[in-house]
């Protein structure tokens, strides 16, 4: 039985209980033990990184130190958290000078970064630790009636040389894991482009156009739903549809589900246990088909 420290970050506990619940329940079914470590803090995402890199690395590595103390690898759900922590981990491991500087900052908290743990993405845990064979065997409610448009977002894949999750231009991992649930994974144009999520509030119009582009292409391709990995992509595409309706006068009705939700459903978790009412675009259509 594998065991990970769970890193939830800020957005998921605040806004997306559906992501947390589905992940916990699905992983429990797969006999993965998740440990909640006290005192975890912000992952220090790109906006913080661009203010002051060393401070941001110190914040991120504080979390890594907690995992090191517990002797557990960290499992991150949010792509942003995954990216920030994995970058910090990789950079400090490879640059002894940087590590020394950050450790000087960390010493105020009594922590020292040693570089003994790994940061895992949910998909990596499923693909490598559990493996496709075990995953397929555990599926009790195959999603064979569903055509799913995979949506990676940016932060799970790049910077690829540090994150090493998959080829950033031609990734396959999400498609493979969707097919492992019995569903059909669809190809559609621009599937690797930005969801617009981080542009919300900065340039709403551009943000909505980007989201619209993904929704349009996925629906043209015949998708029943879009599978996301990141809370921000989820918001951009889910709430985004409501805004697109009011601002651009265009109606899509494509349910957006985190991959973990699809996974939980396929593994037989009851839909009532998954806080699906969090979704702005109702998912009943999907539930009816499985």
């Amino acid at each position: 039985m594998s065991k990970y420290a769970l890193f939830l970050g800020c957005t998921i506990p605040a806004r997306q209980p559906n992501y947390e619940l589905s992940s916990r329940k699905a992983l429990a079914k797969l006999e993965v033990e998740l440990v909640d470590l006290p005192d975890m803090t912000c992952c220090s995402p790109p906006p913080v990184q661009s203010l002051d890199l060393e401070t941001s690395l110190a914040i991120a590595s504080y979390n890594l130190c907690l995992a090191e103390e517990a002797g557990l690898d960290l499992l991150a759900l949010c792509s942003g958290c995954f990216e920030s922590l994995a970058i910090a981990n990789a950079e400090l491991k490879h640059d002894p000078e940087l590590k020394a500087r950050i450790n000087r900052i960390l010493s105020a908290t009594g922590k020292q970064f040693r570089g003994t743990v790994e940061i895992k993405h949910l998909l990596e845990v499923l693909n490598e630790d559990i493996g496709l064979k075990r995953l397929k065997a555990a599926v009790s409610r195959p999603l064979s009636n569903l055509k799913i448009a995979p949506f990676y977002g940016c932060h799970a894949l790049r910077p690829s040389e540090l994150l090493k999750l998959d080829d950033p231009e031609q990734p396959h991992i999400l498609e493979t894991l969707i097919e492992a649930l019995g569903a059909k994974s669809l190809e559609y144009p621009n599937k690797l482009k930005c969801c617009g999520g981080l542009l919300r509030g900065v340039s709403d119009k551009l943000a909505l156009e980007l989201a619209r582009d993904k929704l349009l292409n996925a629906s043209k391709a015949g998708a029943d739903c879009i599978a996301t990995l990141c809370p921000f992509c989820f918001v951009a595409l889910d709430i985004g549809q409501i805004q697109i309706r009011s601002k651009l006068d265009e109606t899509f009705d494509i349910p957006i589900l985190h991959y973990s939700e699809l996974l939980a459903l396929a593994l037989g978790v009851e839909s009532s246990e998954l806080a699906l009412e969090t979704h702005k675009i109702r998912v009943d259509k999907i539930l009816d088909r499985i």
Binding site: D167, E169, Q170, P189, N190, L192, K193, N217, K220, A221
Partner: protein
């Protein structure tokens, strides 16, 4: 050995009183007369022509002297002439020392005549001491063969081969493919002449008299009839042994399985052959049989069997079909050895494999093709007979988008500009637009580079024809969902927006990279590749077809992507260099080479690894010991090995440590008011000429800086620097070429490391490491030399006197 005291004659020239205005010649003459070993001193205006030279020659002839020291002006002009005359007068020309009193002494120190005179004395003392230790050197001759090997049968290799054959050399042309022509055989039409790419053979004198044409396609060129030329197709170079002038090359020929004398090109074999494979020659846009020939007939006009796909005796239908019995399925690969004097590499380049750029989906979307594939379509003999069709459905392509710089100018792949692909795309775009005017053609570019003669006219013409240009590197090529079209997603920098351009066909312009196998070939030949993997020239500016190894030349696309006109120039240049080398049937070289003292040589194998010219080999001396051996032919006399040998077992015959030490002591021996004394060890290439130029340009620096010339700073040994301090130097400057411009490849880089190492040692010995510095400069940096000399003097003045033995 007879030990005879050397008798030194010193010739002091004042250059028509130019020098005696500054230097006290009377004092200098008296000083020189007092140096032990000096038996004759003459003073005059100059000694390199007229009466001065006659006097010098007569003195040598009289046998009064057997060492000559000439102190005068501009030795770079006069020293060769004097050396020749000395030789005629019966003295070995290497027994001469020449020093430049004008630019190294009088001019730069004209404001301090007393110190200048002191320095002149020191320079003479140094030169006399060195002269006494000089030894006569031999002129060596090595026999060489009047034959050459040309590797690669593209337009570069073919032209070089014809040139050399016409000049009477025996030429072996080795091409690994079954047919000659290289890229040109596939490109269809060539800019800037707009004629056939395969019209490549320049007139070969003998054949021309029969065929009466000025230039022609390779298939009717009579190429195989060129006297002195042996063509080996389907052949690879396996090993090269020997030395310049006498290489023994092992080549292996894969059979054609077709008797070259019997094949009559009837095509009956391909009709019956049941095997079909993708046709490489046509960019895999079509298929060919296992027995095939490329059309239009390239050279040689003989079919070939592809051994990787033929079923041989399990099928053998061609054997029956052939009316002349030419098919020989039992031919075996043949290894042969050929002996040649020189080797010319002309292995060309190829398109980069763009499938690694995943966002362009090359090799995945059939309608994304490269320029070379498009060239095959445009060719009337090609797979589509000149029509531009979409490979996915064989329908005409009405909307075509070219994507430039695919893999070129990209930090992820190749940083360089491949230099010819803008022109190739312009050529293709205009050809298509002329033939099919309603085709919509767009070119996405970063910069359009059309730098050759008349090249800009193609760009101009393309714009006039309505070809659209979008400034931007596409981010992705995708497939549209509604239609079967491709969509090129690109920035349009001039419009400040993103564009999505629909296309039936996307043509990418891949980076041009070295031909496959370039690395192995470079290893076999022992020559270097540049940072991008192309064959590296000895000097890109002045010796563009030579390698660092005598006798091995490079040309054409093998050195960097080139268009055909530049390739031709390069090929002819390589031919003339090889011809010059081979012409005399012998290589003449002096013995300014390294020599190894076998009593000291001790098994370490450092020297063979450091020699840039592979001149040192290691042989087994006995059961336990190895012995290094220097080839006088390959040795360039730089002395990098001398600096590398931990046991001091290697010396250069013309720059022995004893000679350098004696000169150094002489240079430091005269010390009145000049202080602090600095020894500047300068390489004879850039370092010493930078000193020349500082004098020529009338730069001034203090006379306490004294210059010693060495062949290359790579020769400098750690103990030599320490000896300089012992001899009285307060500081040491090592002045060599720039790292990239070092005339002996690695010398100045090695010297720099040694200087760093010596600094550590000095620190240990309690000597401030600031007293030692490495400088890198070129001839025109005389000002930099003067400045460095002044700064070094100031620095040492601040540090105070160096006392090696603490009082």
């Amino acid at each position: 050995m007879e030990t005879k005291e050397p008798k030194v004659g010193v010739f002091l020239s004042d250059s028509g009183k130019q020098l005696s205005n500054i230097l006290d010649f009377h004092a200098i003459t008296n000083f020189v007369k007092g140096i032990p070993g000096v038996v004759y001193v003459a003073q005059g205006s100059d000694f390199w022509h007229d009466r001065g030279l006659e006097n010098l020659v007569e003195t040598v002839k009289s046998k009064k002297i057997d060492r000559v020291v000439v102190a005068g002006t501009t030795p770079k002009l006069s020293e060769v002439k004097i050396a020749r005359e000395i030789e005629k007068a019966g003295l070995n020309p290497y027994l001469m020392e020449y020093l430049d009193l004008k630019d190294h002494c009088a001019m730069p120190h004209r404001s301090t005549p007393a110190e200048a005179t002191e320095k002149a004395k020191a320079m003479l003392a140094g030169s006399v001491e060195r002269a006494k230790l000089l030894e006569p050197l031999k002129k060596l001759e090595f026999p060489s063969l009047k034959s050459a090997l040309v590797i690669g049968g593209g337009i570069a290799g073919m032209q070089t081969a014809i040139d050399l054959a016409d000049l009477g050399f025996q030429v072996n042309l080795v091409e690994r493919e079954p047919f000659l022509g290289g890229l040109a055989a596939r490109a269809g039409r060539f800019f800037p002449t707009d004629d056939c790419a395969i019209c490549i053979q320049p007139p070969s004198s003998d054949v021309k008299t029969i065929t009466h044409t000025s230039r022609k396609c390779v298939y009717r060129s009579g190429f195989s009839e060129v006297p002195n030329l042996a063509i080996h197709t389907k052949t690879r170079v396996l090993a090269v042994e020997g030395e310049p002038g006498n290489y023994s090359v092992t080549i292996e020929k894969t059979p054609r399985y077709i008797d070259e004398d019997k094949c009559i090109n009837c095509d009956k074999c391909t009709k019956v052959c049941p095997v079909e494979v993708p046709d490489e020659y046509n960019g895999k846009l079509t298929k060919r049989k296992a027995v095939y020939s490329n059309i239009p007939s390239v050279h040689p006009p003989i079919y070939t069997i592809d051994e990787n796909s033929c079923k041989f005796h399990d099928c053998a239908r061609c054997v029956e079909a052939c009316p002349t019995g030419a098919v020989k399925l039992d031919q075996k690969p043949e290894k042969t050895t050929i002996n040649v004097g020189s080797i010319i590499v002309a292995t060309g380049f190829e398109e980069f494999d763009s499938s690694v750029i995943k966002e362009y989906h090359y090799n995945e979307y059939p309608d994304v093709i490269t320029n070379l594939q498009l060239a095959r379509m445009i060719d009337n003999f090609g797979p589509t007979k000149g029509a531009i069709l979409r490979p996915s459905n064989h329908q005409p392509a009405k909307k075509i988008v070219f994507v430039q710089c695919v893999g070129s100018r990209d930090q992820r792949y190749k940083l360089y500009c491949s230099s010819i692909c803008c022109m190739i795309s312009l050529k293709h775009a205009t050809i298509i637009k002329s033939a099919f005017p309603d085709t919509d053609v767009t070119i996405c570019y970063i910069d359009m580079r059309t730098t050759g003669r008349e090249h800009e006219y193609y760009y101009e013409k393309a714009r006039d024809m309505g070809i659209k240009f979008v400034k931007g590197r596409p981010t992705e090529i995708t497939k549209s969902l509604e239609t079967d079209k491709l969509v090129v997603d690109t920035e349009a920098a001039l419009l400040h927006r993103m564009l999505q351009v629909e296309a039936d066909l996307v043509v990418i312009a891949p980076a041009m990279i070295p031909a496959k196998g370039t690395e192995q070939l470079a290893e076999v030949l022992g020559v270097d590749l540049d940072i991008d993997g192309f064959f590296k020239e000895y000097n890109a500016k002045l010796r563009p077809t030579e390698t660092k190894l005598r006798g091995i030349y490079i040309c054409g696309g093998a050195t960097f992507p080139k268009d055909a006109p530049t390739t031709s120039l390069h090929a002819h240049s390589a031919a003339i260099k090889a011809a010059k080398f081979l012409n005399a049937s012998k290589i003449t070289k002096d013995q300014r080479t390294a020599v190894i003292d076998q009593d000291f040589c001790g098994d370490c194998e450092f020297c063979p690894a450091t020699c840039p010219y592979q001149a040192i080999s290691v042989e087994r001396k006995d059961e336990e010991h190895l012995a290094a051996k220097v080839s006088d032919l390959l040795c360039e006399g730089c002395g990098i090995c001398v600096g590398a040998c931990p046991l001091g077992a290697i010396e250069l015959r013309h720059a022995r440590p004893s000679q350098m030490k004696a000169q150094m002591k002489g240079l430091m021996s005269v010390n009145g008011t000049s202080s602090p004394l600095i020894l500047a060890i300068c390489c004879s290439e850039c370092g010493h000429t930078a000193v020349d130029s500082s004098g020529m340009a009338m730069m001034e620096y203090p006379a306490n800086v004294r210059v010693m010339r060495v062949p290359c700073t790579g020769i400098v040994q750690v103990q030599q620097i320490l000896e300089a301090f012992k001899a009285g130097a307060q500081g040491v400057m090592v002045v060599g070429c720039k790292t990239e411009g070092c005339h002996y490849e690695a010398g100045s880089e090695k010297a720099e490391k040694k200087v760093d190492m010596t600094k550590i040692l000095l620190q240990e010995y309690g000597v401030d490491p600031e007293r030692l510095e490495m400088f890198k400069m070129v001839f025109i940096e005389g000002r930099e030399f003067a400045e460095a000399a002044r700064n070094m003097t100031e620095r040492l003045q601040k540090l105070g006197r160096l006392n090696l033995i603490p009082s």
